[in-house]
């Protein structure tokens, strides 16, 4: 087993990537029939998971739909909510695309290039996972805010939201692509080259198809994260309704102002977007894993 730079969230990506690239015949573990230990452990796990995660999420859904579908519909079609959701999804999509390109490039440089300090750069990739989001926001504000030294002030613009999201989602694609690139057989590229393919053609027709599942997995995780992101955005975006207010900030505002039903309704939409992304990744991983 080759060492893999596994890390936060990217864990999902790496699994998918590994499954897609090689699908090594995993040793089948003989699984015992349910016995008392399975029931005890399973009961504990399900009870804990329900208490911590499932019941609270059910409460949000119940609250959102508690006033009937009409109330739910009017909450989510509120102009300010729509603006926030549109902004969230569009900025997240742009961010995910940039992540795909830059993440693949960074992974490539980390795997294929040699330079001094590469190990430090590699460790730095996980910084956005380790750094609290509020600090990430403050950090970007310090450099690209009104008092920043570089003369670029993006504070309170949609660009600021994009910047914050790029910061927090940067590692996903890198960490998903890296192990696949490491496992990639260099001879395959040499074969393409000896058959007359230019470096660009080799990348496009031979390398990219192999990386694609990993890139998509990373992009899915990045998009899901971006849609729900709050901490890194709240300081730098200015939260101007209709302009720079993302969905999570909108929900926060509704809670603060006591409109819990409205907050729950938009929350449910956010949950749906996240689930669809998660399910799409899982489905994709499964089809690729079986191929």
């Amino acid at each position: 087993m080759s060492p893999q730079p596994s890390s936060v969230g990217a864990g999902v990506g790496t699994d998918i990537a590994a499954g897609a690239s090689q699908a090594p015949a995993a040793r089948r573990v003989p699984l015992a029939k349910p016995d008392w230990s399975t029931i005890a452990a399973g009961g504990t796990v399900v009870a804990w998971l329900s208490l911590i995660v499932l019941v609270p999420i059910a409460a949000v859904v119940a609250k959102a739909l508690g006033g009937g579908l009409d109330a739910f519909w009017s909450s989510v079609t509120n102009a300010q909510a729509i603006a926030a959701l549109k902004l969230t999804v569009s900025v997240s999509a742009v961010v995910a695309i940039i992540d795909a390109v830059m993440g693949t490039l960074i992974a490539w440089v980390l795997v294929r290039d040699e330079f001094r300090g590469k190990k430090i750069v590699n460790a730095l990739i996980d910084l956005p996972f380790a750094l609290p989001t509020i600090v990430a926001g403050l950090t970007l504000l310090a450099l690209y805010g009104p008092k920043g030294p570089v003369g670029i002030n993006v504070a309170y613009t949609q660009a600021a939201i994009g910047l914050a999201l790029l910061f927090v989602t940067m590692p996903f694609v890198v960490r998903a692509v890296q192990p696949v690139l490491m496992a990639l057989d260099r001879e395959v590229e040499e074969a393409a080259e000896s058959l007359g393919a230019s470096p660009l053609t080799t990348f496009r027709r031979v390398v990219l198809p192999t990386l694609r599942p990993a890139i998509l997995a990373g992009v899915g995780l990045a998009f899901g994260r971006a849609v729900g992101e709050f901490g890194s955005i709240v300081l730098i975006s200015g939260n101007l309704p209709y302009k720079t207010e993302v969905a999570s900030v909108f929900v926060f505002g509704q809670i603060e102002s006591g409109n819990v039903e409205g907050a729950a309704a938009v929350s449910v939409l956010l949950l749906v977007v996240s689930f669809v992304v998660l399910l799409a990744i899982a489905a994709f991983a499964r089809t690729k894993g079986e191929a």
Binding site: V121, L138, V227, V260
Partner: protein, 265 residues
Amino acid sequence: MTGRIAMRVVALGYLAALLAIPVGMVFYRAFEKGVGPAWDAVTTPPAQHAFWLTLTVVGIAVPLNAIFGVLTAWLMARRQFPGKRILDGLIDLPFAVSPVVVGLALILVWGQDGWFGGALTDAGIQVIFSTPGMVLATIFVSLPFVVREVLPVLREEGVDQELAAHTLGANGWQTFWRITLPTIRWGLAYGVILTTARALGEFGAISIVSGKIAGQTETLTLFVEERFQSFDLTGAYAAAVVLALIAIVVLVLMTRLQRDEETKR
């Protein structure tokens, strides 16, 4: 050759502009007026309280997640039961939920008007706007890490060693302590580090369930925001530096653990 250099420059330039320089800037801003003011800013009573509260919340949430994580991973790797696939999907759920939604969800269950909160309030137990609510929020957001790190290790190692221990007369409990746990220790350590980092840094969910009462329910991340909103930039940056330093320690530990694992195998 030039292509390789160009790619290196673009990749490193991007990382510098997005990560390294901004983080460096926070350090610079924090110590702009010298170490003294920065030190004073993070040693005020509210700052100290925020620090200890953060440690308390993390100190409760991380062990609970570690136990849950190992139990779940063991269950998924070693036992067959209906609904396994669904459980596998549910484990990742917290990664897909916005922290703000987590906060809202907890209020709806544990708040004064919530599903369970009313009865608890009558019994004199306050969850929301108090430490238990913050612990619940922290457990929620950092729940999947240990499972996701331990599960692949358990699956890869297989059951051979455990079966061997059984043939040598070990009971289930002995096998777990003497064989299974040592096998997963690196994965577990890695998962615990990730959980800790996530728990320390939680902001969105905590800011909703805590009520942000300065000196009472304010963690370090909330303290950073509160100082910033109060125009105490030195205080905000100094506290941010404390959190950034913790993050760097986490990064170093992660890198070390990965290296240990490499040399071990």
